[in-house]
Amino acid sequence: MTLRLPLAFTALLLSLPLWASPFVVFQIGAQALGLGCVALSLSWLMSQAGAVSLAQLSVAGVAGYGVALLGGSEFEPSRGWPWTVAVPLALLAGVAAGAALGWLAARTEGLQTIMLTLAVAVAWALFLQQNQVLTNGFNGITGTRAPTVWGVDLSRPTPFYLLSLAVAAACVLVVQRLYGTVFGLTLRGARDDARKMAALGYQVQQHRIAAYAFAGLVASLGGVLRLWFNGQISSGSMAMGPVIDILVIAVIGGTRYAWGPFAGALVFVLLQNFAGDIVSAERFRLFVGVVFLILVLATRDGLAGLWDHWRGGVLRQRGVHNL
C-alpha cells in the first residue's frame, strides 16, 4: 500500500503519450491538468483556509491575459515580449490579483465569501467584455500559443502534456509540503477558530491574504496553461458558467487530497468530450449537473472521499482496524 500505488500511477501518467492517441494526450490529459491547477487553487483554499473563493478562475484569467498582452498574439496592442519575460510578469500579476482578492474577502466567512467572490468574478468578466482597448472586449485575444523552448515546440500535444504534467506535479508537491509547515497549521487553525487564533496573537487577516496570494499563484499557473491550450482568451471563458464549472470540478474531485481537483477535472473533461455518446451533446450541461448533484448528495467529499471510504473498507478487510 505504501509506494507501489503512487509509483504505478506516476509511470502511467508519464507514459501516456506512448500508448494513447494525441487526442487523448492533448484534449483529455493536458486539458484536465490545466483545469485541475485552477481547481486546485480553489480546493486548497476550501480545505486549508475554509474559504470558497469562486473568483479563482478570474485570477487565472489575470495571468492569462497578462501573457496574452505581454507576449505575442494576433491582437495589435500585444507587446510581443519573449515568454521568459511575459510569463513571470503575468504570474506576478496573478499573485497580486490573488492578494487583492484576499484583501477583499479575508474579512468574510462562509456564505458571505461565496457571494462576494461570485460577484467579483462576474463583475470582472463583464469588465473584460466591455473593455475594447485593453482586452479586445467580447472577441478576446487570439493567437496565443505555447512557445518553443530549446528547440521543442511546446504547443505540440506530447510536449504540452508533459509541461502541464510538470506544472501540475509541482503544484501538488508544494501544496503537500505546505500542509506540514507553520503556515499551513496557522491557516487551519484560523479556519477552525479565528477568534482563538487572534487571541493567541496570530495575524489572521494577514495569513488569509497570504493564502489567497498563494492560491493566486497556483491559479495563475493554471491560467497560463489554459491560455496556451486554447490558443486564445476571452471574457466568456471567465463568465458565470466556467466559474461554476471550476467549483463543480473541485467538489467532484474532493478537497481532502491534492490530487482531488485533477481527478475532478478528468471526469469533467471526459464528460465534456463523450457526453455526446451517452446523451445528446447539447445536453452536456444537464448531464454534468445531474452527476454533480448525485455526488453532492451521496458523498462526503467527492471522489477523494469515495477513495478514502473504499480504502477504509479494503484496509478493514486486510485486518487494519485503526484507520
Binding site: 477583499l104 456564505l111 463543480v248 449537473g289 454533480f292 448533484l293
Partner: protein
C-alpha cells in the same frame, strides 16, 4: 437647449434605473428573507426567476391574459421553490456547504432544462393594452406606461411586504425566527411550516419578478445568472434579512447600473463593484444588516 436635452436624458435614465431597481428589489427581497430566516444561500434563486418568466410566458400566450401569466409564473416558482426546500434544503439542515452546492447543481440542471424546452431565443410577454404606449411627463418626455406600472406595482408589493413583516403575526414569527430560530421552535411554534411559507413567498416574489421582467425587458437563457448576481450584490450592500436594506440596495444598484450604462459604458460595471467594495470595507454587514439577525424591517 443642449442642457435641456441632457436633463431629459438624466431623467429618463433615472426612471429606467427605477424600473431596474424595482425588478432587483422583487428578486432580492425574497433572497434576503430566505437567507435571513433560513440562513441558506439558494444559488438557484436566479433559476426560480427564469422558471417564473418562462412558465408565465407560456401561460399568458395560451390564455391571452397577462395577469393569468403572472399568477402562473409566481405559483410555478413558489411550487418549485417549495419542492427544492423540502427535497434538498431541509434534508441537509445545518450543512451549509452541501445546501449551497446542491443549489448550484440545481441551477445548472434547471437552466439546461429550460433551454431544452423554450430554446435560446429571447421571449417577451405582451402586457395588457391599457399598459402599452407612452405617457407624457412634463418637459416633453415620453415614457412607457409599462415601466411606470412596474415601478408603481413594486412599490405596492414593497409596502405589502412591510405591512406583512411588521404588523402581522406571520411577520412577527419570521422576524423572531431570524433572530433565534431555535428559541422560536422551543416556544412551540411550528418552525418548519414557517420556513416553508417564507421560502414559498420568496420564490413567488422572484417568479413574479420574472414575469414582469419578461414583459418590460425580455427573458432569455443567462438572465438567471444576471438576477442572481444582482440579488447577491443587493444583499451584500443592503444587508441580510432586511427589507429596507433590499429596497435601498436595489435602488442604489439599479441606478448605478443604468447611469453607468449611459454615462460610462466601458467602465459602468465598475460602479456597482466599487459600491459593493466600499460597503464591505466600512459596513461589512451591509447598510441595514446586523450581525446575526433581522432587527429592523
Amino acid at each position: 437647449m443642449y442642457s435641456f436635452a441632457r436633463m431629459k436624458l438624466l431623467i429618463v435614465t433615472f426612471l429606467n434605473g427605477l424600473t431596474l431597481a424595482a425588478l432587483y428589489f422583487l428578486v432580492a427581497a425574497g433572497f434576503s428573507l430566505i437567507f435571513g430566516l433560513l440562513r441558506q444561500v439558494n444559488l438557484a434563486h436566479g433559476s426560480l426567476f427564469l422558471v417564473g418568466s418562462y412558465t408565465g410566458f407560456s401561460a399568458a400566450q395560451w390564455s391571452g391574459f397577462w395577469w393569468f401569466g403572472a399568477f402562473v409564473g409566481a405559483a410555478a416558482s413558489a411550487g418549485l421553490g417549495l419542492l427544492m426546500y423540502v427535497a434538498l434544503f431541509r434534508r441537509f439542515q445545518g450543512d451549509e456547504m452541501r445546501q449551497t452546492l446542491a443549489s448550484v447543481a440545481l441551477s445548472i440542471i434547471l437552466a439546461d432544462v429550460m433551454l431544452w424546452f423554450w430554446g435560446g431565443a429571447p421571449h417577451q410577454l405582451d402586457l395588457p393594452d391599457a399598459l402599452t404606449g407612452s405617457v407624457v411627463l412634463g418637459m416633453g418626455i415620453k415614457y412607457p406606461v409599462s415601466r411606470l406600472f412596474v415601478t408603481g406595482l413594486t412599490l405596492l408589493v414593497g409596502l405589502g411586504l412591510f405591512v406583512l413583516l411588521s404588523r402581522t403575526r406571520f411577520g412577527v414569527l419570521v422576524r423572531a425566527g431570524v433572530e433565534d430560530a431555535e428559541m422560536l421552535a422551543a416556544s412551540g411554534v411550528p418552525v418548519q411550516r414557517l420556513f416553508m411559507a417564507t421560502f414559498a413567498l420568496g420564490a413567488a416574489l422572484t417568479g413574479f419578478a420574472g414575469v414582469v421582467g419578461a414583459s418590460v425587458l425580455s427573458v432569455s437563457p443567462g438572465e438567471d445568472a444576471r438576477y442572481l448576481l444582482a440579488s447577491l450584490v443587493v444583499v451584500i450592500v443592503g444587508g441580510i434579512g432586511s427589507l429596507r436594506g433590499a429596497a435601498v440596495g436595489a435602488l442604489l444598484i439599479g441606478l448605478a447600473e443604468q447611469m453607468g450604462l449611459v454615462y460610462a459604458p466601458t467602465y459602468g460595471v465598475v460602479f456597482t463593484f466599487v459600491l459593493m467594495v466600499a460597503v464591505l470595507r466600512w459596513r461589512p454587514h451591509g447598510l441595514f444588516g446586523v450581525a446575526g439577525g433581522l432587527r429592523h424591517v
